[in-house]
């Protein structure tokens, strides 16, 4: 059955050609910048263009000997792990309390905090954050960086997790309560297992945020031994003051692999998309 006269054959062919042309250009646009990441690390004489003249793993062995490269990945891991742990723990507790016990104006406050966090965590607060860290002797402290990250990520994390608890029927908790479970037993046995997908979402999101962030550690960390990978990437220069492409490219790849693996895992396991809620 032919429904629309407009989908007649010649027009449809043109539309199809246009569509595929567009998709090809799109593919090129998004793929082109990444070619370098895939090729340069294995190039014996890396240049800035993407071609491989001679394959090598030498760049990685140089990297292994660098005093800052591998420790910086460890630093990134500590920062990301610590922040994720604090964020998920604190946010889950707060989200549950806010979801289940009535606080006047809670939604307004939460929304205001969310807005504030999306504004402040960027750059507007870098001066007071620096000062605050300075006064609290948290310059050069991993804890300081973790706390600053946690403060910025918490509002959104609470928002996401509250969405999960709001959508969990209260009868589960009530049922456990009638059977004699204490509030903390209920949280441990019932609530936490039920919002596990939310906890996973927030964990991944916090890790990716911290892993990639440059500004906050750049401002708050002075000691090169404590630099995370995002900052260390900017320290690879040759003796002549030129960027050391061999190290930069190899290190970029190493530094990106955890994120890529995480992406593959998440998209394989859950499908990387938003479900209903649209919170970042």
């Amino acid at each position: 059955m032919k429904i629309s006269p407009r989908s007649s054959a010649p027009g449809a062919v043109v539309a199809k050609i246009g569509r595929y042309t567009f998709l090809s250009v799109l593919l090129g646009f998004f793929a082109l910048p990444m070619l370098w990441l895939a090729s340069a690390p294995f190039n014996a004489h890396p240049t800035l263009n993407g071609s491989i003249s001679s394959f090598t793993l030498h760049n990685f062995s140089v990297l292994l000997k660098d005093p800052y490269a591998l420790p910086s990945l460890w630093n990134s891991l500590l920062l990301a792990g610590g922040t994720a742990l604090l964020t998920v723990g604190f946010a889950a507790a707060a989200a549950y309390a806010l979801s289940r016990v009535r606080v006047p104006g809670r939604d307004g406050i939460l929304y205001a905090l969310l807005l504030l966090s999306s504004i402040v965590t960027g750059t507007a607060a870098m001066v007071p954050l620096f000062q605050l860290a300075f006064k609290l002797h948290l310059i050069d402290s991993r804890l300081g960086v973790i706390l600053v990250f946690t403060g910025g990520l918490l509002p959104a994390a609470i928002f996401i997790l509250k969405d999960f608890t709001d959508n969990t029927p209260k009868s589960y908790e009530e049922s456990a309560r009638v059977f004699g479970a204490s509030p903390f037993q209920i949280i441990r046995h019932i609530v936490l297992p039920m919002i596990r997908p939310g906890l996973a979402t927030v964990t991944v999101w916090a890790v990716v945020n911290v892993w990639g962030n440059f500004l906050i550690p750049y401002i708050l960390v002075r000691n090169p031994d404590k630099y995370p990978a995002s900052v260390v990437l900017y320290t690879f220069y040759t003796e002549g003051g030129q960027p050391n492409l061999a190290l930069i490219s190899a290190f970029s790849l190493l530094y990106s692999i955890p994120v890529i693996v995480l992406y593959l895992f998440v998209s394989h396991r859950y499908g990387f998309r938003f479900h209903g809620g649209i919170k970042r």
Partner: protein, 302 residues
């Protein structure tokens, strides 16, 4: 069914009680207060001082009233930076990311198979790779002598980042951030009832008419939310600094300008004053979007 009128909205199903609830909410709230709310308020105070990173004013900051603000408001460099920021937000977020994200979501909405998977994966990778890495990727791509881009176009010797810094960071940010809009619109498009689209098609509506009459009315809320979030994120984005190095005033968007003023030049009080103005602008942008969102809700009720 009989449950609707009963107190299904009963509070506190676990018997937590207010005291314990406050107790478990406290750590999160304390951290937020200390590291988010306090710095935001502190910006207010700092903006009225001559606080500097080093020297005498670092130890004994003095109140200078609204001097910082008048200085900033009169400063042509600030005007310039503000203008660049608007260009950056409008060009890369509102026009770039939102439009491209929607087009991708629309074109791929019922595509399957490899094309969709590959495109989605690339767009998402651009979004989740660390900012330091993507900054280098783009520096490499656009390098004057050896960049892939010049090699493709046979324009060796063109230093794109130096010659067209704004265009570069705008296109860069489109590349970097389209994923969010794409994901959001994909989710939104699944909420458009297929029967309504089928009805429109049956009456002979073309693609544009289908979009205008069926799709946009359904996803208006998503569009506004998307624009709000990506505008704010782009407004506060510091990544361009990692490409341009920040010194070039032709691409100093506000976050970079603040960094240069406060931490590079050490004039922290002045930096705070700019930051506060920036907060206010952010707030205004947010309120405008929220207002539009609310109007839409009222329309629905009416």
């Amino acid at each position: 069914m009989a449950r609707t009128a009963s107190p299904a909205a009963a509070e506190d199903p676990a018997g937590l009680g207010r005291a314990r609830a406050a107790g478990i909410a406290a750590p999160a709230l304390l951290v937020v207060l200390a590291f988010l709310v306090f710095p935001a308020l502190w910006t207010l105070y700092l903006g009225t001082t001559n606080y500097r990173l080093t020297g005498h004013a670092a130890r004994h900051p003095r109140s200078v009233g609204v001097d910082n603000y008048t200085t900033v408001v009169k400063d042509p460099a600030f005007h310039h930076s503000l203008w660049l920021t608007f260009e950056y937000v409008i060009g890369s977020a509102v026009l770039g990311q939102a439009l491209l994200g929607f087009v991708i979501a629309w074109l791929l909405r019922d595509a399957g198979g490899r094309v969709k998977r590959v495109i989605e994966a690339l767009v998402l990778l651009a979004w989740i790779l660390p900012s330091s890495v993507v900054a280098f990727l783009w520096s490499a791509l656009l390098d004057r002598d050896q960049g892939t881009f010049n090699a493709l176009l046979h324009t060796q010797g063109t230093a794109w980042i130096v010659e067209h810094p704004m265009t570069v960071i705008i296109i860069f940010n489109i590349w970097r951030g389209t994923a969010f809009s794409m994901l959001l619109y994909s989710a939104a498009l699944t909420g458009v009832p297929p029967t309504q689209l089928a009805t429109a098609r049956m009456f002979g509506a073309n693609q544009w008419q289908q979009l205008r009459d069926v799709v946009f009315p359904h996803i208006r809320g998503h569009i506004l939310t998307n624009l709000l979030l990506i505008s704010l994120w782009t407004f506060n984005d510091f990544t361009p600094y990692q490409i341009t190095g920040g010194a070039d005033s032709r691409s100093q968007i506000l976050p970079v300008y603040i960094y240069q003023t406060a931490l590079f030049d050490g004039q922290m009080g002045l930096g705070a004053a700019i930051a506060l103005l920036m907060l206010v602008i952010n707030l205004v942008v947010a309120l405008v979007y929220l207002r539009l969102l609310r109007d839409r809700r009222l329309e629905r009720v009416a």
